[in-house]
Assembly symmetry: C2
């Protein structure tokens, strides 16, 4: 099952070990660590128990962008819903079959934020949608490994369900193709001088969120980029207009 | 929500603290500890984080029998299915609505075994049915607090679902009434000299399992005990027969 669990900047090695164990009990085995505070670490190995193999095989990278390379579906976990306005929000139970379905075409990812503060808005920009774990409104503070456990458990439950036969004709576009689309869009916005008062990439991010939500397949990304290329030619040259 | 989470002989204070936190995040607040190795303990308090209140309010008893007093439904958690032949087995998702439904009439309980070995057969004898958490067959070793987290999460999810309107006319019999029924049955077996070669209470346990599975209400227990009393009179006196 090519499902990555990406932990962004985990600060406590014990949590990383406990997360590895939680993953392995549910059969999710691809652990990615973005800039972990300490790795490897004996406390992580101790808490991973017999899942230490998964910890040893973890992929360690510097940025979330590297971790989501190739992923056709990236879901970020969020304890609070304040930032959820820009992204579709689903429960772990709703997310699990979506992840399994998309994983048929290639890697997918679930992203977990750092212990104290969770994912940043910049991290959310890398996500297609968010997972919110139902919790006690008076005390929502799930430990990192507990959040990992619940999402992994829902994947395990969803694996046991019959899968729909219908397959996607064209694979979903991986994260780096969306990056290129968003960069291309940025050029177009500049070329046609479409700006707003907020500035600082605000409009670019709004378009990027729309593309992220839209679950674009590879053909659709190519089509959009074809359109953007045509717009650029027109905007920059414009000789024949 | 009068749902007890009973930890039987937890050996690591850290696990007790993490379990308390896991419960509180999902709004399950009644923690019972049966013969904990160490309680209170600073490591438990540390790992409970802001759920330390729940830890402080925990009820500590010596035996599982004391912990299930008054409970109309007692579900034991089991990682292995070897002992499950005698009891109905359900998933956490199936168990959650049953617990909520029974909790309308009075306290119910979920029982978690000690870290290394889980619940004993003697513990299972105190349960109406078992909960088996779906897991990776190659590595089923869930940490205690992770098992607690998953069952509590399913309760949280089930709370959000609409509840059926139909109410039970007679409340389910609490654990101590079943105890008295089982003791009564033991007297009858002796009085009518109904034994088998296994001896040592083997037959008594088999009948107790049947009564445990049957989800008997208070009237049904009274009816059964009335029958048993009649049998005893006949077997002991038998003057008029």
């Amino acid at each position: 099952m090519p499902i990555r669990f990406i932990l962004v900047a985990p600060s406590h090695p014990g949590n990383v070990g406990a997360a590895a164990r939680a993953m392995k009990t549910m059969g999710v085995e691809e652990l990615w660590l973005v800039a972990p505070a300490q790795y490897p670490h004996p406390e992580a190995t101790a808490l991973a128990s017999s899942a230490a193999d998964l910890l040893d095989r973890a992929t360690v990278v510097d940025t979330l962008s590297e971790a989501v390379q190739g992923c056709t579906l990236v879901l970020g976990t969020s304890a609070r819903l304040r930032t959820a306005l820009y992204w579709p929000v689903m429960t772990p139970r709703e997310a699990a079959p979506k992840l399994l379905e998309a994983a048929v075409d290639g890697p997918v990812a679930v992203v977990f934020g750092t212990e104290r503060t969770g994912l940043t808005n910049a991290d959310f920009e890398r996500c297609n949608a968010l997972i919110h774990i139902p919790a006690n409104p008076a005390y929502e503070s799930l430990n990192l490994s507990q959040a990992v456990q619940i999402v992994a458990y829902e994947l395990r439950c969803a694996m046991a369900l019959p899968r729909p036969e219908a397959r996607r004709l064209v694979p979903l576009a991986p994260a780096e193709e969306l990056d290129r689309l968003n960069a291309h869009m940025g050029q177009v916005l500049a070329a046609v001088a479409f700006t707003d008062r907020a500035g600082g990439g605000h409009l670019e991010r709004r378009f990027a969120r729309i593309f992220g939500r839209a679950e674009l397949d590879c053909h659709e990304v190519n089509m959009l980029r074809g359109l953007l290329a045509s717009v650029l030619v027109k905007a920059r040259g414009g000789a024949e207009s």
